[in-house]
Symmetry: C2
């Protein structure tokens, strides 16, 4: 798994001394004053420069990522592309400006609330320094230069980036590229700092100067950090993306019409990246006696694929073992685990009644290449499906596979799932999360600790901002986007006296 | 303070049995399914009907409010007008639709992240049943039918309304008007429920079916409820509006040019409603030796005005006593307290150095008619002012009084204050919060427990919503506002492929 040449040349960072964290936060705070006052155009140019530098460093970073994470080179090269795309996309968001949700109310002596309306103008300001805990399963896209970092920098917040212990050498190398690019682009010193070690991470999250936290990882780890963040003397928002089972519901009509195809795609999705995605489909609800079930039971499963770490292997194998131990669960299909314990993809089977009777033990995340198939009887089985959807907790995603003829039949199911998940999919698999304007990667707890936010897509910038209203201010003291006479580059869409306008320059 | 006729006819509600709360939440959940599926137009019509019913009941409700709260009839009549205006304004927000932040991404095979972009469409859905804790100091506008209730109903969330113990008879009477209007307008049963008693309130906040909490009140009470909300097995968002000092900074130029005028307005603001506003200016930073200071010290203060309750009187008098006991604090002006302890308006005085040396003991909320004047030396005094602004914690508001010639001199002060407060005012007083599109009534803790939100103005609706993305769905299963072919009334502004459009009907 390792190449001794690269290993020799890539140092592992030392743990950050927790007693130095207050200095790092103070430096971030000073940088934040400058950065918040930097124009949107200039911030966008800095993000572009970071993206360019990361692209240029791919030849060094990707091999290091392969060694640290055991993920395939092609996957990691694609992930780096996604990462630099994200940085540039936030540049576009800054230039476009609607994320500021600018609102301008002109004075109105006849305002019907019973008192004259003053001149009020609202925009968004950055929260201040934030700490981001990197994910283990996306060494690029949710790590040092990932979406949390990109969205926070775009918002105007300095970032303390807690490295994930699973890829420390890559984290250090990435941070060096980022910091050099920031410095060369003229960003203030202290804007971005790598923090290594759990103790230093906790010190950062509880430092009085830190204003928010971001996290992608396990439910247990995320909840512990959430508890820290909200029990501070000054509690702060904590945007944790934790666990999700991502159920997939297949109608009988779809299972009959496309059984083999759906089975093949399901196997591709739950084994992708050795099942180490927060959007891995963990439960498939399929009709009993269908070609889909037949195709799953006779599937030619791929062999064991390396996981991120020994800890991941142990965690997966423990949960899989516990699932198998529940009465009414059997193995539908499985290859042979590798000698070192690396798991073979596994399809377990139960029925919806058993699942419903023990949701807590059976409807749970098994991080790795295992999926639980729950069969239902009948032609539609929709009562069972709705009952199951009502019984589950918060999810990142929920998918429905159906035919055109199913639209009316699944209406209630889709409606219930909209109350459980941040993203619903029709005839599509939840893995492979696209980075777009309309993406929503979030959901009720335990999918996240902040159900009104997203950690993927351009909406992620909103987590690091808060509104400020200016009442009766002279133009010269207003932020650029709130003025009547707009400087070039300061324009943004605005809600003016309650009416949306595409530009503040419209008259 | 009381009229025996009205008293006899207005019953005090019994405490809600906490063991019945799960049933109330279950009923709210059932109502929520129907209400969330009700069109924006129909929800707006229901809000209008509630507003009409409250207006029609003013003749009964206002006298009851006078008795329960000891506030003046004119003030309460105005507050009822504000309350029904709020309800109707959220109807407008529903019809206009930009609060949904609709985003539509069409498929794009060439999407530069390295994988094709699917069809993704995002809108907002209601969180589910919420519990709102009514405020004591606004018997109408932040109580049973207040802004939290109006914004939550508009968002599509059922409301359990925890009555404030300070005006229970008014709460019951208001709730009866609301419930009758809701029923007559065809809203589902269980959509709105009055909850009485602290124990029942806590039971509601910790009920598994409740998805968020709203609160306006003291820092201590709000923090205790926040702690409950975030320590649930499933933590939920808690939107608490707690305490604020609302500092006012006056430049020397303004204090020289308009000393008498500013003093008169200051006294009007800090004694308004006996100082019982969360936006009451609590600290005035004024130049030493100025006509403003002279005018404040020789002010003809109004007499004691009744406070909401004995508890309010005791709380105010205790904090005022503690402030007076700090070395370096003296009484600048005060009348004579009433015999029953009702406080006379009081102006205390210290200097900025003393204040800075003991921010924790001196820069604190004294809920009632007391203000602390902190004097500074020098012509501009701006270093002291900036240092003070940097030393304080989160605020709802911060005000600056200055002349045109001060604009450059106060730039840094205004910039620092934007990091401390949700609303900044120029030559204006923070009391008398206008209900508008651009209003921001929020701020970093302890001003609120959720700095990215507002509890006044149309932006308040966002607290009760979360985004859901639909990937690859047939039009017939999409929420109306996400379709390409829009039904009448379903249209809303949208971000389409990253470009804002005023209507989904534009092509």
């Amino acid at each position: 798994m390792t190449s001794s040449t690269t290993e020799a040349s890539a140092p592992t960072p030392a743990e950050t001394d927790p007693t130095t964290v207050p200095e790092l936060v103070a430096a971030a705070t000073r940088a934040g004053v400058v950065w918040a006052a930097t124009s949107r155009q200039d911030r966008a140019a800095v993000l572009d420069a970071v993206a360019d530098a990361l692209d240029a460093a791919g030849g060094t970073l990707v091999p290091l990522a392969v060694e640290d994470s055991h993920l395939a080179e092609g996957r990691l090269r694609g992930e780096l592309q996604r990462t630099t795309f994200q940085l540039r996309l936030f540049g576009e968001v800054l230039r476009e400006g609607s994320y500021l949700d600018v609102r301008v109310d002109h004075p109105d002596a006849e305002w019907p609330m019973g008192a004259p309306r003053p001149d009020l103008r609202r925009t968004m300001v950055p929260l201040g320094p934030v700490v981001v805990f990197a994910a283990g399963n996306f060494p690029f896209a949710f790590s040092v230069a990932g979406n949390d970092m990109a969205s926070a920098l775009a918002a105007g917040c300095p970032v303390l980036l807690k490295a994930h212990p699973g890829h420390l050498r890559l984290s250090l190398a990435t941070a060096e590229v980022v910091q050099r690019a920031l410095a060369e682009a003229g960003a203030p010193e202290g804007l971005f700092t790598l923090v290594v070690g759990d103790e230093a991470g906790r010190a950062a999250l509880t430092d009085p100067g830190v204003t928010a936290g971001g996290f992608t990882g396990s439910t247990g780890g995320g909840r512990a950090l959430f508890d820290l963040a909200v029990s501070r003397p000054v509690p702060i928002p904590f945007f944790g993306e934790l666990g999700s089972v991502n159920p997939v519901f297949v109608t009988r009509a779809a299972a009959e019409a496309r059984g083999a195809e759906i089975a093949k795609e399901a196997i591709g999705s739950f084994t992708l990246g050795a099942g180490q995605f927060c959007t891995k489909p963990g439960v498939l609800v399929v009709p009993n006696g269908s070609p889909l079930l037949e195709a799953l039971s006779s599937a030619d499963l791929p062999g064991p694929a390396p996981m991120l770490s020994e800890r991941m292997v142990e965690g997966h194998n423990r949960v899989r073992h516990e699932l198998e131990g529940v009465a009414g669960v059997e193995v539908l299909a499985r290859g042979t685990d590798a000698e070192d314990g690396t798991p073979a993809p596994t399809i377990l089977r139960t029925d919806v009644a058993t699942l419903l009777a023990d949701v807590e033990d059976l409807f749970r995340e098994c991080f790795g290449p295992t999926v639980l198939v729950a069969t239902y009887e009948g032609s539609g089985g929709n009562e069972d499906l709705v009952a199951l959807a009502q019984a589950i907790d918060g999810q990142l995603t929920a998918s429905v596979f159906g035919e055109t003829s199913d639209v009316e039949g699944v209406r209630e199911l889709v409606s219930v799932l909209a109350n459980r998940a941040g993203r619903l999919l029709w005839n599509a698999w939840p893995t492979g999360v696209s980075v777009t304007y309309a993406q929503e990667h979030g959901g009720p707890y335990p999918a996240t600790t902040a159900p009104s936010t997203t950690s993927v897509g351009t909406g992620a910038i909103a987590r690091w901002l808060r509104p400020v209203a200016y009442q009766g201010f002279p133009s010269g003291l207003l932020p650029g986007e709130l003025r009547d006479e707009l400087d070039e580059g300061a324009d943004a869409p605005r809600l003016e006296d309650g009416r949306l306008r595409l530009s503040g320059r419209e008259r």
